[in-house]
Every structure is written in structure tokens, then in C-alpha cells.
């Protein structure tokens, strides 16, 4: 029997996917588990894999075309099998990009001889009969119901995209909004500003006409949608403190001298570590707001805003409180690299309990970050710069840094947030305090 190849939900929030590249051609033999195509989700470029052995047939989606999750993009048939000619789902071409014309031009062709088929209509946006059909094990459904998780937002790792128990465990009870929405664009601290590009924007010099419409990419659509669920509905308030970074800088210099070429500790690593440790002392800030309850996390997973081409994403440094500075730095580098190559797996950018956004390298003195729900807080880190301050009755230059914390007032009250920020400030001003 022929197996339909669906556009699968390859990220928790994916609603449609752009077929970037077919790895297999019509008529080619495929085995279950082999990569059929690369698909751009709202987060990353993921592999669409074959769920059955057979021959790839009825390739209904051309490269560059965007179709909703659940649509049939091809069929895997037995060699010589007479494939059902009336596909249940007509592939839908999204309005974005130039896929429509390509789809017409490249409408599926018959593979091999003697296979009768009526003309498929890949262009018409017929409602997908099987679109939205959710595959989840009975157990997964029960767990999701009890935990209040929307299964539509979970990527299934089972056969045919079936959501199974482990998918919910890896999502760790992720609330309605599992994806990452950071706030400020920040280049990965490890890479510096060279990597920060916004290359998809049209350049004004070459543009013709008064304006140019650029279709939203998948990632930008998600950013737009997710940010609008944050600053609007979530009652934010902001707390700012200025931190003296003299001793942190000295400690970092000393560490890096000692490390030599064995590695390098960045300020960001120190800030992530201190934030994680401060959270262990202020559980009230390490929490998720859920519809009818607040989940106070015993584990600390720090989301780290990373700028990627045309967007941003917050990969997660898990158990940051338990990790050494070099481990944090190494992970941050790896995750940022994956993020830029759009190779982050959903498990690598979901499940943060608190986030850090750092624009220090852009010489931003101070900014406010938008909370990444369901997290209840985020800190925005400004640049470290020498300033005249009164120190022991004298005006002296000292390296200072401003941190602004955004709090979800439904979870964190002013004094609660301030107490956390005070601990964080103390740790940064006296790095030995992290050992306490």
C-alpha cells in the first residue's frame, strides 16, 4: 500500500513548511528513515524523512514551495504499484514567495510508464482532509491533558510524527508557548558582531520603486506571533541596577591568563553562571506562568538570545547553575553556531526557565527585554564601560554594567524581583560570592 508523505510538524510551533530541497527524486527508491527533503520550519531547516520503504512518487511540492503541515507532499509506493490517483489532500501553495508559478510549472509528473492518474491539482488551496490530524499515543494524550500541554505544539518523534511520551518529557511540560522568543537581537557572545547580519533586508541603494514588499520568512512569522503574545498580554515591569564589574573583570582576566590557550571565559559566561546561581537562591523568579498555576522550577535552564540571519532564537543552556564557566562557554558557542546554521533541534531551544539577552557588544547602555513566555523573567544586559563613580569618597573610573530585569507581574512582585537582582549584583561585584 502506498504511504503518503506529509509535511510534518518538525518544530513545536510549525504550521507550514517551505520545501528547501528534495534529496530524493521522483521514481527513486527510498528506505524508511532516509532523508527525503529539507524543510524550512519556523525555526530551522530540518530533515523530512521517509516513513516507509518504496519508490518516491507523486512529488507534489516543488523546491521553494510552502505548504501547511499535514499536506501530502509525495507518496511512497511499492515498485510498480498502481498509486491511488485521487490524493486526499491537494497540496496547498501558500501565498508567500513565487511558489505558485513554480508549482504550476512543476506539477507532478508520472513516474515510469503505465501508471494511470488523473490530473492532480497542486495549486488549489483545498482544505486538507488530513491536515491537522494529530497523531499521538493514548498515553501522550493523557499526559498532555493532565499537564495542560497543547499537543499541536509538540513535535512527534514516533512513526508518522506520532507524539509519544518521550516528546512530552523532552518538552518538560512546556506550556502553551514552548518556543523561544527572545527579545532583543543579540549576536552570540562567543562570536561577536561579525556574525550579526540582516542580509535578507533589501538594500535601499538597489531597490526600485517607493517600497519593496518582502514576504515574512517562517522565523519572522513566529517571532511576530510570539512577541505579540508577550508584551501585550503579560503585565511587564522593569527593574534596573548598575553593577560594578571591576572585580568580575579582574577575575576574568586572571582566569584567562591561567587558562592560556586552553579556553577563554567571556563576560557572558560569567553573567549566565551568576544568573543561574542567583536563581537557585530565588526560586520565585525561576518559574513559568501557566493558565491556572505557577510552575516553580527546581532546575535552572537559561535561555540565551542569539541573533541569526533574519531573526533570533534562544537556545538553552541546561542546568547552567551546575556547569563550570568553560562548559557554559563551550555550550554557548556550539548552540550559537547551530543556531546560525539553523540546525538547532527543538530540544535545544525549548524548556528554558529564565532568559538572558545581552546587547553589550553593541555598546547599548541599557535596554528592556521582552519576556519569553511562559518564563516569568528575563534580564537585559548592557555594555561594560568605564564610568566616573564615587568610590571610597573619591570620584574614580570604574567599569560598570547595567542590567534590566523584565518581570511578569503575575509571577514576580517588585520586591521579589529586586531581591533576585540584588543577589545577582552581589555575585557579579564579588565573584567569590558565587561560591557561597
Amino acid at each position: 500500500m502506498a504511504t503518503k508523505v506529509f509535511m510534518e510538524a518538525l518544530s513545536p510551533t510549525m504550521e507550514e513548511g517551505r520545501l528547501v530541497k528534495w534529496h530524493k527524486r521522483e521514481g527513486e527508491v527510498v528506505k524508511a528513515g532516509e532523508t527525503l527533503a529539507e524543510v524550512e520550519t519556523d525555526k530551522a531547516i530540518m530533515d523530512l524523512v521517509a516513513r516507509a520503504d518504496g519508490v518516491l512518487r507523486q512529488v507534489a511540492v516543488t523546491e521553494g514551495q510552502t505548504v501547511p503541515v499535514g499536506n501530502v507532499v509525495a507518496v511512497i509506493a511499492a515498485p510498480g504499484e498502481n498509486v491511488d490517483t485521487s490524493p486526499a489532500v491537494a497540496p496547498v501553495v501558500s501565498g508567500s514567495g513565487g511558489g505558485r508559478r513554480e508549482a504550476l510549472k512543476d506539477s507532478p509528473t508520472v513516474a515510469g510508464g503505465g501508471i494511470a492518474r488523473s490530473a492532480p491539482t497542486p495549486v488549489v488551496a483545498a482544505p486538507a482532509a488530513e491536515a491537522g490530524r494529530l497523531r499521538a499515543s493514548p498515553l501522550a494524550k493523557r499526559i498532555a491533558k493532565e499537564a495542560g500541554v497543547d499537543l499541536q505544539l509538540v513535535t512527534g518523534s514516533g512513526p508518522g510524527g506520532r507524539v509519544v511520551k518521550r516528546d512530552l518529557e523532552s518538552a518538560a511540560g512546556r506550556a502553551p508557548a514552548p518556543a523561544s522568543v527572545p527579545t532583543a537581537l543579540a549576536p552570540s557572545p562567543a562570536t561577536g558582531r561579525e556574525s550579526f547580519r540582516v542580509s535578507r533586508l533589501p538594500s535601499p541603494e538597489r531597490a526600485e520603486g517607493a517600497y519593496q514588499d518582502v514576504p515574512l520568512t517562517q522565523i519572522r512569522k513566529t517571532i511576530a506571533k510570539r512577541l505579540a503574545t508577550s508584551l501585550g498580554p503579560i503585565p511587564h515591569f522593569f527593574l534596573t541596577t548598575e553593577v560594578d564589574m571591576e572585580r568580575a573583570a579582574e577575575a576574568r582576566d586572571a582566569l584567562n591568563r591561567q587558562l592560556g590557550d586552553r579556553g577563554k571565559v567571556s563576560f557572558n559566561d560569567v553573567i549566565v553562571k551568576a544568573t543561574a546561581l542567583a536563581l537557585t537562591k530565588h526560586r520565585a523568579c525561576n518559574a513559568w506562568f501557566q493558565d491556572d498555576h505557577i510552575r516553580y522550577w527546581n532546575e535552572v535552564h537559561i535561555g540565551m538570545a542569539v541573533a541569526v540571519e533574519d531573526g533570533l532564537i534562544t537556545p538553552v543552556i541546561r542546568h547552567a547553575d551546575l556547569k563550570a564557566l568553560l562548559e557554559i562557554g563551550g555550550e554557548a558557542r556550539d548552540l550559537a553556531e547551530k543556531a546560525r546554521n539553523r540546525r538547532l533541534q527543538p530540544s535545544e531551544y525549548t524548556g528554558a526557565t529564565f532568559s538572558v539577552s545581552n546587547l553589550g557588544m553593541f555598546e547599548i547602555d541599557q535596554f528592556t527585554a521582552v519576556i519569553n513566555p511562559p518564563e516569568a523573567g528575563i534580564i537585559a544586559v548592557g555594555s561594560i564601560a568605564p564610568k566616573p563613580v564615587v568610590w571610597d569618597g573619591q570620584v574614580v573610573p570604574r567599569r560598570r554594567m547595567r542590567i534590566t530585569m523584565s518581570c511578569d507581574h503575575r509571577v514576580i512582585d517588585g520586591a521579589t524581583g529586586a531581591a533576585f537582582l540584588k543577589t545577582l549584583k552581589e555575585m557579579l561585584e564579588n565573584p567569590l560570592a558565587m561560591l557561597l
Binding site: 493514548p138 498515553l139 509519544v164
Partner: protein
């Protein structure tokens, strides 16, 4: 606790029950002078005499019928078949008489009879003599069916079968008779209808009975090397089925593989899967898979026979699939 072979555990159960109750007698081909084709009745003729250890002609339907009649008259016969492959000839007495007389007599005539003998394949006995009959027998209302896997269960379940007022089928195994295990002395009765967890685990439940218990235990060891903790549930009784133990285990592990010697179609595993999907639906994280004999008459060729039987490798492969490891 003494270590006995499975055959000696059965022998002990027979001897103790015959000593305990003068109405219990053994009848079948070669059970007396020859002391049983598999020596299960060793020493019984000497101890109890030819009135209670009765050698019969090669006429399964006949001596099964005599047994049913004796049970109607108040005795407690134990009918030994040299193999369940021969008992097919006696199915009319088992299915139409033994299983139905209590019902058809309006509850006046209980049939306290035991039909026992080796079941399933041994080695290279060919298609006609290598069959597992438990799904046939378990299908019949009015019969109870037990399939002990260990010497202790063999003793305890045979004693329970002899004491039961209903016809009870005891499925033994030629390949089991020589296996050894600790067997409690004296009064040791395993209630019919209770499964036994032979190994506890967290990740997947392997449900088995009779010879496939050792297959599942070997598979569990291999899975443990891969870091998978498998629970092995030995059904022991196939009718009635211990639904609570099956369901409880699957509720814990969320996944199950059912292993049996019989063919897949309408097998014992199909019944177990029915229980699981009905009673543990919300606990399932994967479809339940089955490992059975290949759906063909048993090949005589040694290598083909090996390939046709359930094996630890097949169980491991099925477990990996329900765990989504492949």
C-alpha cells in the same frame, strides 16, 4: 528449598495428590509399566497399583471419554496425553463432553478432570508434532488452561488443577521436562488465574508463558545491556487470564510485547492485546507488538525451524520498536 527438574516436580505433585485423595488416578499411554513417555509417572504404578495408574491402548478419544465418565461418577482423573498433538483426536471428549456437562446438566455434574501433556514444538518433530494448542483450548468456555514455565509452577499448578472441580488443561513442554528449579516441599499450590512477574522492569513489559518465558528472560537480559529495563510477566494461566497483572504492568511501562509459541492468527497474544487496549488504553505509548511462531506449519529443517520459532533476538527487536529505538 530442593532443586528439582520440571518432570520430578510434576511427579511430586501427582504423588502427593494421589496420597492425599484416593479418588485421584492417572490414566494414559505408557504411564504405568513404562513410567511415562517422559518419566513423569516414575514410581507411581509401584506405589499406587494398576487400579490408580492405568495404561491405555493408543486410543485418545476412548480414554479421554473414560476419564470424563469417571469424573461424572465422582472420581478425579488425570489424563496424560503423550503429546497434545495426539490429544486432537480426543477433542470431542474435551470440548463437547468435559467442557459442557456441568452446563448441560444444569450444574448437577461437575467434571473434576485434568488433561495434561507436553505442548508446542520440541526439536525437529515435524509439522504434525510441533504444534502449540493453547489458543484452541483457551477458546472454550468450561475449560481452564494453565501453562507452567518453571518446576515450582508446574508443581503448584498441577496440584491446583487436580483440586479444581472443573476440567483443567495443563500444558507442559518436552523441552521443559529437564529444566531445573527450586520447588517448595509439600503443600504448595499456585492458584489458577494468577500471572507471575518473573523479572521486574520499568520500560517495557514482555508477556509470555510456558517455554517463551525463558525466551523473554533472555531478551530482557540483552535489553538490559542496552540500558532498557524489561519486565517479564509469565501468564501461567491462559484461562482465566490475570488481566490485573497484565494491565498493572503495562500501566507502569506503557509498552508491551506479547510472546507465544503459537501461530499469530487468533493467538493467545491477540487476546492479551485485547485486554491491554481495553483496560490500559490511556497508558499505551506505542502499539503492542507480538512475537509468535511464523505463520506456517513448523518446518522440519533444523535451521528453518529455528527461524520459525520465537527467539530472544525477535523479542529484543520488537521491544526496541515499541520503545521507538529503531
Amino acid at each position: 528449598m530442593p532443586t528439582l527438574t520440571y518432570r520430578d516436580a510434576l511427579n511430586q505433585a501427582l504423588r502427593e495428590e494421589m496420597q492425599r485423595d484416593g479418588n485421584v488416578f492417572l490414566m494414559g499411554e505408557e504411564v504405568g509399566v513404562y513410567q511415562g513417555a517422559y518419566k513423569v509417572s516414575r514410581g507411581l504404578l509401584e506405589e499406587f497399583g494398576p487400579m490408580r495408574v492405568v495404561d491405555t491402548p493408543i486410543a485418545e478419544l476412548g480414554f479421554a471419554g473414560i476419564g470424563v465418565g469417571a469424573a461424572m461418577a465422582g472420581l478425579r482423573p488425570v489424563i496424560e496425553f503423550m503429546t497434545w498433538n495426539f490429544a486432537v483426536l480426543a477433542l470431542d471428549q474435551i470440548v463437547n463432553s468435559a467442557a459442557k456437562i456441568l452446563y448441560e446438566s444444569g450444574g448437577q455434574l461437575p467434571i473434576p478432570i485434568v488433561f495434561r501433556g507436553p505442548n508446542g514444538a520440541a526439536l525437529q518433530l515435524g509439522a504434525q508434532h510441533s504444534q502449540a494448542w493453547e489458543s484452541w483450548l483457551s477458546h472454550i468456555p468450561g475449560l481452564k488452561v494453565v501453562a507452567p514455565a518453571t518446576p515450582a509452577d508446574a508443581k503448584g499448578l498441577l496440584k491446583a488443577a487436580i483440586r479444581d472441580d472443573n476440567p483443567v488443561i495443563v500444558l507442559e513442554g518436552e523441552m521443559l521436562y529437564n529444566t531445573k528449579g527450586e520447588v517448595p516441599e509439600g503443600e504448595y499450590v499456585v492458584p489458577i488465574g494468577q500471572a507471575d512477574v518473573k523479572r521486574t522492569g520499568q520500560d517495557v513489559t514482555l508477556i509470555c508463558h510456558s517455554k517463551t518465558v525463558s525466551v523473554a528472560l533472555k531478551a530482557a537480559e540483552q535489553l538490559a545491556e542496552e540500558g532498557v529495563s524489561a519486565e517479564v510477566v509469565d501468564l501461567r494461566s491462559l484461562r482465566p487470564l490475570d488481566e490485573a497483572t497484565i494491565t498493572g504492568s503495562v500501566a507502569k511501562t506503557n509498552r508491551a510485547v506479547v510472546v507465544e509459541e503459537g501461530w499469530p492468527h487468533c493467538g493467545i497474544g491477540a487476546q492479551v492485546v485485547d485486554v491491554i487496549q481495553r483496560e490500559a488504553f490511556d497508558h499505551l505509548d506505542a502499539p503492542v507488538l507480538r512475537v509468535t511462531q511464523a505463520d506456517v506449519p513448523m518446518p522440519y529443517n533444523k535451521q528453518l525451524e529455528r527461524l520459525a520459532k520465537p527467539s530472544p533476538e525477535k523479542v529484543v527487536a520488537a521491544a526496541r520498536r515499541v520503545l521507538y529505538l529503531d
